[in-house]
Amino acid sequence: MLHKNSTLSYCLQSTKIHCLLLVFAHTVREFFFYRKEYKLFYQKILLICLFIPFLNESMSFLGDEQFEGGNKEKRHREKRRDGSKDRRKRANAKRRERSRADRENEEFEERLGKREKGRRGRVKNDQEAKKRDEQDSEDKENSEDKEVKPESLSPDELEKLKEAVDEKKKLIQSLRGKPWPMKKKLVTLQETLRIQSHDDQDFENFKTACIPWEMKIKEIESHFGSSVASYFIFLRWMYGINMILFGLTFGLVMVPEALMGRPYGSIPRKTVPRAEEASAMDFAVLWDFGGYAQYSVLFYGFYSNQRAIGWLKFRMPLSYFLVGVGTVAYSYMVVIRTMARNANESGVGDDNSFNFSWKMFTSWDYLIGNPETADNKFASITTCFKEAILEEQESRKDDNIHLTRFLRVLANFLVLCCLAGSGYLIYFVVRRSQKFALDGFENHTWWERNEVNMVMSLLGMFCPMLFDVISTLENYHPRVALQWQLGRIFALFLGNLYTFIIALMDEINVKREEENIVKFNITMWEASLYNGTVSENFTASPITIHPADVPRGPCWETMVGQEFVRLIISDTMTTYITLLIGDFLRAVLVRFLNHCWCWDLEAGFPSYSEFDVSGNVLGLIFNQGMIWMGAFYAPCLPALNVLRLHVSMYLQCWAVMCCNVPQERVFKASGSNNFYMAMLLVILFLSTLPNIYTIVTIPPSFDCGPFSGKNRMFDVIHETLESDFPAWFSKVFSYASNPGLVLPFILLMVLAIYYLQSTSKSYKEANVELKKKLQMVIQIMKIILLLPTTVNNWRNNNASFQGQEGEILLPKSRQLENESYSCLIIQTYCLRRKERVTFFSKKTYDNEVKKKSFPVVFSF
């Protein structure tokens, strides 16, 4: 199906070369950037290798996934069991706690003077005796308890505790009063308590279990840090989007046409032509999406231009057009909405005032009882600490600013030179190959024919490495460095896109010329047919010719769709093969050849590979761009992409866990992924441009697709308006589409955007201001909160002190260095407690200030 005179045709033929080169590049890159070995993964690799002795391209991941999945299932179940055990334990201990709190309560009352030494009575039904027994035994208990409990449980807290205990006591009393059997009481009590606390948690657990791949991603995050996990979260998000695109095209275009449209073989566009019939079922042809695949619902050309099909009167061409527009509109909407939401989230931010202390004292989950979960938790805590340490180190780093600036400018200059050079190279090569194409490729050497692809592959291979080297000059925080790297490679890949679109446009033009010739030929053919029938003088008026024999145009739309599908397939294959060879095979070799090699393979040269976040993210983004570009001409593309992403998810999760090692510098990815989103938006915009161009300017093929016979594709809207809507509606529509109305509307929109943006900016500023104020209030609150304990401690230490002057060292605060605040606070506090406050004279105070860093002196 490939046209000879195109650069494109070679694009696909050289996929193998491309693939090999990529693998080579991977190895070479690792040579320069090899990392340290990581012991944790030896075992896993060994395990994997035991389970899959023979690597089979397609089956390996499936087999392993099952294995892993089973494993996980088991783990999950175990965890569940643990969880339920814990829960039971908790419920159990809760009751215990209540009894304990009761005891405390009673102790409190006793302290107030109720204590009386009771004699022991053994009368069972005597309530009083029972109570005294209770108290006695509680005394015993309390004597133990008191040792454990620090004295600093303030009266307030005790009060609170008392209240909580009273509440529970009431519940139990009410239960006791009921004439139910013990079992029923027990069940009721348990249920009441469970409802109070466990329902939320169960629901949360359930919600987490419902998120697809959440466990996998969490596991990866715990071992590889949030940057690698951010890629997988992005992949999952993309999967969701593609599911919806797939639903749209599948439900509104493919299924209606397959069910209600004319069947295969009824009209020429739905039949394989006679010349191709022999090879239409060959695997090689089908793999190339020719033959029967080409003449099916998968591609644009199959759809007929009947206005309404089936008993539903389904408006097929209209639906096709609207779905095409809808997928793009929906994608825009989702991407922009996600970006906006992410921006919101990042605007609020977390309270990070106790970052390290919280990590240290509250990160362990005390409910963990499963060894594997515990291992993951250890890993994730370590990763988390490493991320935080890195952030801290980066924020502390203050090198020579001028040198850094100079180096950064230099690096950017170098990168720009690189990009400009490669851009010119691509431009030059594409022009040259167009010239070759005009001459005919047969007259040229192999290199000249494959020049464009080779240049593109080489650039895509070496430029990222070059950028990587250059970025070490810049000394950025790794997260920022990743973003720069992504941006640069993105710019480079745009060249790739450019060549592809140029080649595609050339191809379309060639096909259209061909179409004109075919059109002319067809009129001739019909005329001859007509003459022939007339001369033979047949009475049967309709001439029955098998649809396969009817000559037909080249149908450039189907050709474009096919190119995109082939591109996606070859890209997918390249990714998977690179993954299997570059990561898996390498890991296996390193692991097993290490015993019989002259140097340490694991620590030395090849080592294990790291997960390449930037490359994978870009691959995903460009792949999505291809989908958006091609989905209009090949409705099957979203389905293919869903399949690809699904497989990618499992394959890459597996590959990461079994053959990659974590990066040396684990850094915290920004939670929002807005940078990925921004790139996605750019790609979305770039990929809609050629689509809009083809729809608006190029007339559709005359004999294939839902818009055949129309002058432009969007004429279908006009047609619907005129025939399916009342007359006034089309009138209104024509008025509304008048430039006189549209232009002011656009102007209004621009003004609104400007207004909204300026308000959002001012809000942001206000937000920052408020944050500052909040910080200050928090500082004040800290002092107030700590004051009771400080005063109490001070009193305890100076028990003999009565009505004299004394001093209290107030908590030091970093932001609140203004002592007047503190004085005010102390005054308020003491006034509230009805205590006399006398400040020292100014002179004494000054002396005190000179002596100590920040004392406030006062007396009661």
């Binding site: 201990a93 027994d133 609170k160 919280w358 240290m360 004292f361 509250t362 009882g369 490493k386 180190q393």
Partner: protein, 178 residues
């Protein structure tokens, strides 16, 4: 409530008041299965039986916890990690989800205070950190984290955390007592 009093006397049951019989039995069962040769089946005369630390930490609830020894030591009356049944019940009640925040804070402070000087000082933090990360961090990193943590949480400027500091810090933690 007196239908099955083979292991506990009436008084004990009343002492544990609201703790329902079956749960008590269950806990006792758990306690006993740790050391069947030490703990008698009959608890009516309150025997003075203690289970050593090495046996307690094998419980599934504690087995994976990096601080298991500390926890057991904190709750044991003699400070050596030998638990009587009362200590055992205490431990469960403090670690259970429904126990109040204040109580948990107190015990958490005790657990993290390795050298029992009523302050969490740098050595305690280092120990905590090494247990949490299984010693994966380098000495410099540990020192950095300790310094940062003290800088954040220490309000009275004595470069160690008192209980007040600890309480203030932990009461604001989003993860604590989820």
């Amino acid at each position: 409530m007196g239908n099955k009093q083979t292991t506990f006397t009436e008084e004990q049951l009343e002492a544990y008041q609201v703790m329902l019989e079956s749960e008590e039995q269950r806990l006792h069962g758990r306690f006993r299965e740790l050391a069947p040769h030490l703990v008698p089946l009959d608890y009516t005369n309150n025997p003075d039986v203690k289970v050593p630390l090495t046996l307690i930490v094998t419980m599934p609830e504690l087995k994976e916890n990096p601080f298991r020894e500390r926890i057991v030591e904190t709750f044991s009356e003699d400070g050596q990690g030998n638990l009587s049944f009362n200590d055992f019940v205490d431990m469960f009640s403090a670690l259970c989800e429904a126990s109040p925040r204040e109580l948990k804070t107190i015990y958490a402070f005790k657990i993290y205070d390795f050298n029992r000087d009523n302050f969490i000082c740098k050595e305690d933090m280092e120990k905590t950190l090494n247990k949490l990360t299984k010693g994966d961090l380098t000495a410099e990193e540990v020192a950095l984290v300790c310094n940062k943590a003290i800088e954040e949480a220490d309000l009275d400027g004595d470069s160690k955390l008192s209980f007040a500091d600890f309480e203030n810090m932990i009461s604001k933690a989003p993860d604590f007592l989820r």
